[in-house]
Amino acid sequence: MGTLGYISIIIAFAAAIYSAISFSLVAKKPSAHLFQRAHNSLVFVAILVSVSVLVLSYGIFTHNFELEYVSSYTSLNTSPFFLLSALWAGNSGSLLFWAWLLSVFSLIVILTRRGKERELVPWAAVVLMVTEAFFLLLLVAVMNPFTQNLQIPADGSGLNPMLQNLGMVFHPPALLAGYVGFTVPFAFAVSALILGKKGNEWLLAMRKWILFSWLLLGIGNIIGMWWAYVELGWGGYWVWDPVENAGLMPWLIATAVLHSSIIQRRKGIFKVWTLLLMFLTFCLVIFGTFLTRSGMLSSVHTFNDTGMAPYFILFIALAFFGSLGLLFYRYNELKSSGSEQLVSKESTFFLNNLLLVGTTLVILTGTVFPAISEAVSGVKVSLNASFFNAVNGPLFLAIILLAGICTVIRWKNASLITLLKNILWPLMVSIVIAVILFATVIKAPGALLAFFICAFVFSSIISEFISEAKVRDRVLGYSNVKTWATLIWSNSQGYGGYIVHAGIVLIAVGVIGSSFYSVEKEETLKIGDSLSLNQYTLTYAGLDSQATPDKDIVIANLSMNKSGVLAGKIKTEKYFQKSQEQSVTEVGIRSTLIEDLYVILQGWSASGETADFKVMISPLVSWIWIGGGVFLLGGLITFWPNRKNSEECNVSQSEYQKLRKEKKESD
């Protein structure tokens, strides 16, 4: 069985190379016959890699412990749900998953290109197949998922208990799909450069792919944060660990791509800049894939050197210098002569881009710092979370502030007066909120400023929605409900974007609250003793123990008093997975919109008479997950095409503005 899977990969590798060569021949000299051959070989690659994935899945689901991968990551009593996630739980499995996603995406892309984009297909397919070949090569030469055990164990080791969590089932595929997805626009960008295209063809063709990948990567990151928070049991959700940064960096640059591509589509400027960002996104994706599975950084999150480093370094170098070289080669044809006014939406977009690139550079430098310092001075120096927080905190706030300013500023030449008029209402609302916060709980100047900015951005978004709705109301005479319902669909990209911004603001609110105002306390309690933190009092009731076939569980029960009123029970556990000899903490969390109460069982005496607890109160954490949901919603809305056949859009933009002015004057 395993051999079948391995042979599939080897043949797929050969087919990918054949496909890449054929497509490059087609690109140079178009011929229907050759194109068909190249096309078929790409389909063949997808089929072969799928076969491989099916073989591995089959092995997992039938508990075939001949395969080392199956015995390392599953056991007889792993539930079917987690058996599925075992497919991407291990290094080689997730690489196979990467290769499979890429082969499927390539297939979809090739089959769905119409019209003008078809010119771009051959070279794009070359890039896709070369990348595919790279990953297949890794699988063939270094990380074979189908290695066999010399001795077949009776049972497998089982999935690491920390991964047996809903979040960990969705986080890797979302993240990986986001990663892989970016290969497609990268391929089309390279193709456009090779062909010397000067227009926005690649961008227009790739809009949905970029959005799709960006959205999935973003959601993948948020799920990862949620998992760390509930499963790892230390009360936080982000530590700027290299693995976390690997997922964040491409997302930040992709956000910059999204924004700069909007400008490119509207104005025909920023062409070189958008291309550069797209190349950077892809390089960061490959670099991130490398970071999470190599021993390059002795981050405690990665394995020892698996021998993949040279391959990755070569591939990243090829992608990076190759695409840069192309850019230089075509530079003069792409340079645009547009200019933009200073006080305009365009400049907020550009500043936003600079800030996003800036933070990514900071994160990148901080992440690889130990490797650099070791190379330079012989001693590894690592930068802990405080560095990243101190530098990125203000930068992220500035980005959010820009989002707010962008909402109230107009395209093209926005006079200062118009800007001030639009800013007035949101500014007043946020000042009022800031004053209220200061008068009640928020005294720290940093937090106050941060909340002020969040309030400003949020109210500017709401103000925009309301004012547009009002105008549509008057101009088009719809009922209230219809106005709101049609408002979003009339400009799904714009309003979806605003909703995404709102989601980001909510996440920021959660981060600010929990970063500035978390409190914690550690105490050893005897049965009947209480621990108080803020308005909560927890009384230790005793230990319970349970045993299931695969784990031993110790449960500490506490009763919870909130502001003097009995509010229920809370429990926190530690369990020991028998097969893995590892303990896992299941924290007790009570979430409200205001704060999370977080209880960790740290230790206990043999009799259970006393137990050690750590209790934390983290304000506003729930808003991070709520913000994530809003983010997803906004992202999905931007996918929708604007309605083209409705009356609203028959009113052209200039007519619309004229009608608005007339209505305003007649009021």
Binding site: W234, S347, L354, Q602
Partner: protein
């Protein structure tokens, strides 16, 4: 042209802000990373610095103190296990921390023989699992 200059100035301001922030926060965040044998040789030069030490937890060396949440254990060099450091640690122990496993401790030497750890970071058996 004037407008483009203004944007370039904006870019420079951002870079300057990044530079200043980085410079300020660097000192407090930079942590030297040593193996056990390296740290034993440079111990006299360390002073009161916060550092990280990497090694392997010796089997049978973890002792939980009676009071509070403190444990003591011995960290040995990965290459030369005769080089050892005594570690004391108070607080939550990460789940993957076990005798025989590799670990990285962050803290400082409280006296010539004992390293007081503020944080224990462990390599996780599975691929990409962030731990504190």
């Amino acid at each position: 042209m004037l407008k483009q200059k203004k944007l370039i100035i904006g870019g420079i301001i951002i870079l300057a802000a990044i530079g200043i922030l980085s410079f300020i926060s660097f000192k407090g965040a930079a942590t030297y990373y040593y193996t056990v044998s390296e740290v034993l040789t440079t111990q006299s030069n360390l002073g009161n610095q916060n550092i990280r030490v990497a090694g392997k937890v010796i089997e049978g060396s973890i002792v939980r103190e009676k009071s509070g949440n403190t444990i003591v254990f011995i960290l040995a060099d990965l290459v030369d296990p005769t080089k050892r450091v005594n570690i004391t640690y108070q607080g939550a122990v990460p789940d993957a921390f076990k005798e025989g496993n590799e670990a990285v401790v962050e803290g400082k030497f409280s006296d010539k023989d004992t390293f007081k750890a503020q944080q224990i970071i462990v390599k996780c058996p599975s691929k990409y699992v962030p731990k504190e």
